[in-house]
Amino acid sequence: MSTKSLSLSATATAKYGFLIVSVLITIFPFVWVAMMGSHTRAEIFSAPPPFYFGDDILNNYQRLLEIMPFWLVLWNSLTVATLGTIGAVFFCSLCAYGFFAFEFRGKNIVFGLMVASMMVPPVLMLIPFFLTVKFLGLLDTHFAIWFPGVANAFGIFLVRQYMVSSISKELLDAAKIDGCSHFRIFWSVVMPLIKPAMATVGIVMFIGLWNNFLSPLIVLSSPDKYVLTLALRSVQSFANTPWGAVMLGTFLSMLPLLIAFLFFSRQMMAGLTAGAVKG
């Protein structure tokens, strides 16, 4: 074997080694949580901790249902994440279309301000958010969790950039000549062409809403309105926290995300890389 092919195979080995280690690091917490969900609290805290699947999964499941209305909470999370995602995909796309298709005074300034707003740390907005929600009488409602994000700067920016790179203005003109109203142009011509960007916004929003902890923490107070993040956190204050049940609940709460990613990962990648390489 020549020196060149030896060095090539060494490079390939190093590359695959790095990727395998990265994958293991990424999936370790998921596997670990799944394993912990099948053990008793005592087993979890034994030394060394068990790194295999136990046989206490049914007990943990029963315990989970005792400490929280798990399926109701899961439903709440699904409702919040789904409504927020649908709303965000629709309104971000609509708003992005406005920035893409219309010329109006101050357009660039408004767009710049909107993009700049992404730099503001979300924690800084917590108190104004709480005061606004309280002022509007929306405390302890799911609406207050999903609605504020339906027109967010990230989604608008992403979709608008995608439109700029993939839709020609002549297409909009052709639709106008064909007799479309602006909404019809958006609905029949633009929306089918921005599916990858919409999928990206959708999955990012779904993950964001699913994992959202801070907003539910300051908005929700009734346990029957809790979402998963809040419910799982609330049981940890119990003395003698049933960690097996909590881990099982945590693992079950990850499943919808994993399934969603499985279905939309291709579109998501397409949306994120659109325009990066000239086709």
Partner: protein
């Protein structure tokens, strides 16, 4: 089908005036070409006619009605775009039938009209294909089908052939001509290609810097250009334009070209031409050979020859000027050889400078 009148149309973008006081009358069924160099405002004018943009001042009159405030749909105009602007997610049939669907035409009628249009344009086999699966010429035909299916009162073409290769362009040009002869819809055709304009249009409007330079039939523009711009724009190779002045000695009027060469001025010189002038000579009217009696004879040295196959373009230097002449006899001429070109006096164009 309707007539079209543009009455005092002007269009400005900020401080830039793109179109200045445009007046054009287009009769019913007429095919008009708007020609001019890039940036002369021809596409802007088409957008104003279509309703995609609004004029800063002036009226667009379709038939008997001022349509300034009407949408493109209400004007019932159809437009074929340079990039075809086909909807990529729809197949050919959906693309052609889209405007009928928007208008709420019953599905059965849409299918019928799409099928009829496809038959005219030889697209029947392609109806289920997406635009990405079509060649340039096929896409172009779909774009025309989309315009044709709605039976518009006005057809607007915005450089529809400029994305096609030379051979396909000729083929599609013939197709457009055949189609217009068949449907006789009033058509406005924007192009920067004078050959396209000359071959397709009943009349041509030449625009430069937002101003109409001349309106006329292809023959009028070729034989009687109104100014040096039109003279230089129409014809290939371009007309030779040389600056000079008219001088009189006794009864004889002469043209003293910048660079010291003097040519006899024909009796047909316009009365208005006096003092500084620009003279024009079409390369195809300059004949290579012996000096001819009663013609303007120019003797110069051959700079170089540009062969094009059917004819040679001779670049001839005389005085400080270089002019182009066409040679259909394809003679082998040595570089720097002395050549004599003769021009019939009635083929000399004189413009006031």
């Amino acid at each position: 089908m309707s007539s079209l009148d543009l009455l005092g149309i002007s269009k400005s973008f900020g401080a830039t005036e793109v179109l200045k006081n445009i007046d054009i009358h287009v009769s019913e069924g007429e095919f008009i070409a708007l020609v001019g160099p890039s940036g002369c405002g021809k596409s802007t004018l088409l957008r104003l006619i279509s309703g995609l943009d609004e004029p800063t001042s002036g009226d667009v009159v379709l038939g008997q009605h001022v349509v300034n405030d009407l949408t493109p749909r209400e004007r019932n105009v159809a437009m074929v775009f340079q990039s075809y602007a086909l909807y990529p997610h729809m197949n050919v049939a959906e693309n052609i039938g889209f405007n009928l669907r928007i208008s709420g035409v019953p599905k059965a009628e849409i299918n019928q009209r799409v099928a009829d249009t496809a038959a005219i344009l030889d697209l029947t086999e392609l109806l289920t294909r997406k635009p990405s699966q079509l060649s340039g010429g096929q896409r172009q035909r779909v774009a025309m089908g989309r315009a044709l299916v709605r039976n518009p009162s006005l057809f607007l073409f915005d450089e529809p052939l400029s994305n096609l290769d030379a051979k396909l362009r000729v083929q599609m040009r013939e197709e457009i001509k055949r189609l217009h002869a068949k449907v006789r819809t009033t058509s406005i055709y924007v192009t920067h290609d004078q050959i396209e304009a000359m071959t397709l249009a009943d009349r041509i409007v030449i625009l430069n810097e937002g101003i109409i330079q001349q309106v006329g039939t292809p023959k009028e523009l070729y034989t009687k250009p109104a100014n040096p711009f039109v003279a230089g724009f129409i014809g290939s190779p371009s007309m030779n334009l040389l600056e000079g002045k008219l001088t009189q000695s006794g009864d004889t009027i002469q043209i003293e070209l910048d660079g010291g060469v003097t040519l006899p001025c024909p009796q047909t010189a316009p009365q208005s031409a006096s003092g500084r002038v620009i003279i024009g000579m079409r390369p195809e009217h300059l004949h290579l050979g012996e000096a001819a009696a009663g013609a303007i004879n120019i003797t110069g040295r051959l700079d170089h020859v540009e062969p094009t196959g059917a004819q040679n373009h001779l670049k001839v230097k005389f005085g400080k000027n270089t002019i182009t002449a066409t040679d259909n006899t394809l003679q082998d001429l040595a570089s720097n050889a002395e050549v004599t070109l003769s021009l019939p006096t009635d083929k000399l164009h004189i413009f006031a400078n």
